[in-house]
Subunit: 235 residues, 2 copies
């Protein structure tokens, strides 16, 4: 199995932009998913478009010989069933922003293919850009994606609520940054089970009651506080 | 106002241990809160004990002339009312672990006193160990502490749930570390409002429904997923 000489990368968003940099040693053509004309022949077509946009982009994409893969955590491999014979997934477990550089070497890549030779092909590409390549079924990848929703989306929402509470007191949310950084660093050394602190885990009902009173006038946040606290206690 | 020559530090836990290191340029005596005998005379008594233990420790503490301060985010300054004439608070906004060193210079310190001369005294101590010293009322500090519960305790619980989902698939929770690190780093550059991504914020009901199905058999986690997702959408 030799390295593929030609990759077509469909998409212009954050994932596509970062992937393009990581794949710079390949002969790569980037394609705007809105303008699917004059598609070049390639060995691998990587669809790095928004999860919900993928089916529609595939419907407009011409038939081709190569390996079709997507980068979406929440979409099963068989989305390609009616669009290609050889297909798979290359899912980077990371959040990408326009203005931040990330080192792909540190990003876990989860791959899947519908046939064994293409597994070797996709593994060789993945291994050339990341130190952590894991072969994973679509079923397990769904769980992984769900896990990432907790670790990224839900965590960020906690940051948001914390920031808002400070802003209402005319305090800068920046004051939280050392705490947030240390909270993330702590679990590189211990399981989050051991890292849990706060009124809920120590059963400090008095402080929790006071916090709920402080949130009076904001029933949504009160409910959120209560549910998460109970979840900490019931784990 | 000269620097105090003598500090008595009551407590042997994580906060006390880290404070002791930070205050090494002072003449400092550390006191075990369980053994309150032969208490030396000091200019400042710092009570770095567990929030819920503080009232009981104060009841056993002998009367003294100096400034009494505690380090508890959730406890109002007037806890000292019947125990001292001069009192205040020195609250470090950080999570402390036994095995991790932290640089106190980066930790925001929130102080409060019941009289102006002691404000200057406490400010001089606080400024000697941290670059971010903020004078804050007990009322506002309660809100700050509530905010820290979201940014630290609740965030860690999200890490925990994410880890557990992976472990059930025999995947290592370590796979999440690059994502968790980047999620925390991202908000050093943008407000969490702008950093929010995921199915909830983009109104992707299909993915949310699938996630709720994946959580079947775990009603607690289903409810948590639903509440946080709705909170993201309603913000």
């Amino acid at each position: 199995m030799t390295n593929p000489s030609k990759i077509a990368l469909i998409g212009k968003g954050n994932v596509a932009t970062h992937l393009k940099k990581a794949l710079s040693k390949y002969s790569l053509t980037q394609i705007d998913s809105r303008i699917l004309e004059n598609i070049p022949d390639a060995d691998v077509y990587i669809f790095a478009v928004k999860d919900d946009a993928l089916p529609e982009v595939l419907n407009r994409f011409p038939m081709r010989e190569g390996l079709f893969v997507h980068t979406a955590g929440s979409i099963a491999m068989d989305v390609f069933e009616n669009h290609a014979d050889r297909y798979g997934v290359l899912y980077p477990l990371q959040t990408f922003s326009k203005d931040r550089t990330v080192d792909f070497k540190d990003i876990p890549l989860f791959i899947e293919t519908n046939n064994h030779p293409d597994r070797l092909l996709l593994e060789s590409i993945a291994n050339s850009i990341s130190n952590q390549v894991v072969y994973l079924s679509s079923e397990k990848r769904e769980k992984l994606h769900l896990s990432a929703v907790f670790a990224n989306n839900f965590v960020n929402h906690m940051y948001y609520e914390a920031a808002k509470i400070l802003e209402e007191e005319n305090l800068s949310p920046q004051l939280l940054l050392p705490l947030i950084e240390e909270t993330a660093n702590k679990i590189t050394l211990m399981h989050p089970r051991e890292a849990q602190t706060g009124p809920a885990i120590r059963g400090d009902e008095k402080t929790m009651k006071k916090h709920l009173e402080l949130l009076e006038g904001n029933p949504r946040l009160q409910e959120l506080y209560e549910k998460i606290s109970r979840s900490i206690q019931n784990k």
